[in-house]
Each structure stands twice: as structure tokens, then as C-alpha cells.
């Protein structure tokens, strides 16, 4: 039964392959709706990746909030604005853009090498390990306990942030009562 021992590896390569393909499609497809649907696929497989890493709760939240709510907003806006497929610009780099890509890549390599050789953080108060998490009542329970003890203040601040975002959305997207839609489009012209 050697194939069974290789299961996590096979699973990882399938999932990450899907993640990569859909990420490329998000960026490379001309039609914004296609991009949005591939973004859903991407988020779904990233959630699968979380689940394979033992983070069940995070995976469920990822699908619930990201795929179920945020991308729906994108799809809505795309449909409402009736965006047409755009012509792709092609890959012509300016020096600045190439530099940004290069710096990002270097940063990732540094972080990856640093973290890959980091030993399990024994001294940290949050350190549990898979077996201990199972013993303490499962991933969801442990995440919840940690969230509402050590991370209580960030949690409260996040709720204030959401409130701010709601108010901001209403203020920004509110229709201007004085001038209608027509005047704006006529005055927009060429810029």
C-alpha cells in the first residue's frame, strides 16, 4: 500500500496545480466574468489546500466569505456595469515593473528559506502541534479559544473596521442627488 502513503503528496500536487492554473486564468482571461469565475475556482482550491493542512475552520470561512460573498460582489458589479472584454496589453515590461517583479521574487525566496528552516516554535504560548490540537477539542475549538483570548482586541478592532467599511461604501456609492447620470457621462469626455 505504498500509494496510500503518497496520498498527501498526490493531493497537494493536484490541488496546487488547479490553484496555479486558475490563478493564471484569472489574470489572463479577457472577459471579466470569466476572471471572476476562475477566482471562485481558485479560492475553492485554496480552501481545499487549507483543509489538507488541517485548518478546517479557516477553509470553511474561506469558502463562506471569499467565494460566497466577496466574489459575488465582483460578479454583481461586472454585470451591472456591463463590462465588455478588454484587449490584453501583452507583456511589455517597463524597467520599473521588471524591478518590482524582481524585488518581490527575491523577497519571497528570502522568506521561504528563512521559514523553511525555522524549527517548531516550542516557546510560543500558542504552540500546540497536531496531536495536541486534536486532544484539545479540534481545530475549530483551538482557533476559537485563541481568537477570543490572545487576539480579542484585534478581533474587536476588526469589527469596527467592518462598520467603517459599511459606512464608507454607502457614502461613496450613494447617488449624487443634484446631478443625474447623464450630465456626468457627457462631461467625462476624453480626459
Amino acid at each position: 500500500m505504498e500509494a496510500l502513503n503518497l496520498m498527501p503528496e498526490i493531493l497537494f500536487y493536484i490541488i496546487s496545480g488547479m490553484v496555479l492554473v486558475s490563478s493564471v486564468m484569472v489574470v489572463a482571461s479577457r472577459n471579466p466574468i470569466t476572471s471572476a469565475i476562475f477566482l471562485v475556482v481558485d479560492l475553492f482550491f485554496v480552501a481545499a489546500l487549507y483543509a489538507s493542512l488541517g485548518a478546517d475552520f479557516t477553509a470553511a470561512v474561506q469558502v463562506l466569505v471569499y467565494a460566497g460573498a466577496i466574489v459575488v460582489l465582483f460578479v454583481f458589479v461586472i454585470m451591472l456595469l456591463n463590462l465588455k472584454p478588454e484587449a490584453l496589453r501583452g507583456f511589455r515590461f517597463t524597467v520599473g515593473e521588471a524591478l518590482v517583479l524582481l524585488i518581490t521574487l527575491t523577497g519571497f525566496v528570502i522568506i521561504a528559506t528563512e521559514l523553511a528552516h525555522a524549527p517548531p516554535d516550542i516557546a510560543s504560548p500558542g504552540n500546540l502541534g497536531a496531536a495536541a490540537i486534536e486532544l484539545a477539542g479540534g481545530n475549530t475549538f483551538v482557533v476559537g479559544m485563541r481568537m477570543f483570548t490572545a487576539f480579542l482586541w484585534p478581533f474587536e478592532i476588526a469589527s469596527v473596521l467592518i462598520l467603517l467599511a459599511i459606512v464608507a461604501c454607502v457614502m461613496v456609492a450613494k447617488k449624487d442627488k443634484k446631478s443625474g447620470l447623464k450630465g456626468h457621462i457627457q462631461s467625462s469626455g476624453g480626459n
Partner: protein, 100 residues
């Protein structure tokens, strides 16, 4: 057990996809979607590191990132709608008034 390096490679590739989207796409909604992609790439690292370091703090960070991403997407899309009302386009080439 998949070695943790694999997750970092995957994450950096996804991040580069998102970065390329931000740099090369001229549609404001596409730019926002690419930002979501980049946030996701970072989330993958958080969860992988959380398993590597044997603690759940990484997963909690992901929850916060998702919260911020939700706010960002909502406000961003509200701005896209406002801009579309104002100028009739969401092409970033036309929306450069601040640059003069």
C-alpha cells in the same frame, strides 16, 4: 507530509500572478481581483507556516486578512461604481486625474 517549501513556491507563483494582474491589466475591477489573488497567496503562507510552527496563530491571521479583504473589496467596488458614474469608464489609463 508535504515539505513546507512547496507551499512557499506555490504561494510565490500565485502572488506573482496577482502582481502581474495589477501591473498589466487596465480594468479597475481586474486590478481589485488581482489584489484578492495576492492576499490569498499570503494566506497560503500563513497556514503553511502555522502547521510548520505547530500553532494556530497563522490561521487566525488568515481570518483577519479575510476580514480586511472583505472591507477592501466592498469599498473598492463602491469606488468603482462611483468612478463609472462619474467618467463612464473603469479603465485605469483614463483615471489618472491626480497625476495631472
Amino acid at each position: 507530509m508535504v515539505a513546507v517549501e512547496n507551499y512557499f513556491i506555490l504561494s510565490s507563483l500565485v502572488f506573482l500572478c496577482g502582481l502581474a494582474g495589477v501591473m498589466f491589466r487596465r480594468n479597475l475591477i481586474m486590478v481589485l481581483m488581482s489584489i484578492e489573488l495576492m492576499l490569498n497567496a499570503v494566506n497560503i503562507i500563513f497556514v503553511a507556516a502555522s502547521r510548520q510552527l505547530g500553532q494556530v496563530d497563522g490561521q487566525i491571521m488568515v481570518l483577519f486578512v479575510i476580514t480586511v479583504a472583505a472591507c477592501e473589496a466592498a469599498v473598492g467596488l463602491a469606488m468603482v461604481i462611483a468612478l463609472f458614474r462619474r467618467y463612464g469608464t473603469v479603465n485605469t489609463d483614463f483615471l489618472r486625474l491626480l497625476r495631472g
